[in-house]
Symmetry: C2
Subunit: 183 residues, 2 copies
DNA sequence: ATAGATATACTCACTCAGTGAGTATATCTA
DNA sequence: TAGATATACTCACTGAGTGAGTATATCTAT
């Protein structure tokens, strides 16, 4: 019954929350706010989704939350990262993103955000690794495109668009490098 | 309790199935096969997801299925489009896609597939409308980018990538037009 | 002065996307 | 003749994402 892919997918803000907690423990509302200020163009996460993920992360034993009474406002839960969660985050931080537009735009940028905060050299390294990964992906897509017969119009159009997008991601990655160097 | 957005989202293969049924009624297995031959680079839909959607579509009164006994193989359900479903499909067919990479790559290509099958002029018209829509989206993104302060590095990087992708989509749309004209 | 908006802080119940395993039979292939 | 592959579908699950609801405090404009 247990799913073969507990791989909860790096395309949910899960790792972003883990990362924010690795910088500073906090309660849900604050985490959500940090997410929507620093990465609002990257993730579109509602408050309730934030809490959903936080609860799951706690169930799985990656973070731990304790209730804090407050004088006037309602009690809140203060979360902090525990070793398994830190380990999970570190591993994610060093794994390149898949070669899809969404993975780059959402997951890779998030990774870069945390990498730069901990060490700008790491950020530059991640960019270089991602360039290699993406170039390889682009070649695979070009080969795939060549193998699709011209009558197969819509499959060709789909792959052709992906080829163009990979190419534009490569250009963006180089712009990204320059931006990180200057920042 | 009822969701405010019954907007089941055009990013599920729902409309593709409606469209396939508008061309020819069929049973689930066959619909799945048509999907993975003609649009395999566009949708990645498993057989069980196909049945899920077909069941939902029937519950909602867009399609209707009747059991057919077979001599040797197990009975199968033959689906056909009913008027509300046809109407829903027609409306979708004439609504431009949102300006996101995924909407274009998945939904727009699907729309084009059905448009060309019914009339190549319609396909060309849809492309032209989409160009207008996408150009407007690109301008909005550029304005947004200008409004993000340069210290806000990662939000800028996110929007910058989207700008590049919109630009590459516009080029692709023009390639698309040429392809449809020649096909 | 006070009414209404906004901020803090969280819970709950829901729909939809997507997967994997399971059931059953027929036919093709080495 | 055994195993892979094709036909045809069901079921139960996890995870993404939303909207409404609860409750209190503070700020703001009339």
């Amino acid at each position: 019954m247990a799913s073969k892919t507990p791989h909860i997918g790096p395309l949910s803000p899960e790792f972003a929350l883990l990362g924010l907690l690795s910088q500073k423990s906090a309660h849900g509302y604050e985490l959500h706010q940090r997410l929507v200020t620093d990465l609002r163009q990257v993730w579109h996460v509602s408050l309730s989704q934030t809490y959903n993920i936080l609860n799951r992360l706690e169930e799985r034993g990656y973070i731990s939350g304790t209730f804090q009474e407050q004088e006037k406002l309602p009690a809140r839960r203060h979360f902090h990262l525990i070793p398994t969660g830190q380990q999970r985050f570190n591993q994610w931080l060093h794994t390149p993103s898949r070669c899809t537009v969404r993975a780059i735009r959402v997951e890779f940028i998030t990774r870069l955000y945390f990498a730069r905060a901990s060490s700008p050299e790491l950020a530059l390294h991640l960019i270089d690794v991602q360039v290699v990964e993406t170039s390889a992906g682009l070649e695979r897509l070009k080969t795939l495109l060549d193998e699709i017969p011209s009558e197969d119009t819509f499959n060709r159009l789909g792959v052709d668009l992906r080829v163009r997008q990979m190419a534009s991601i490569l250009e963006w990655l180089s712009y990204c490098r320059a931006t990180i160097l200057l920042s």
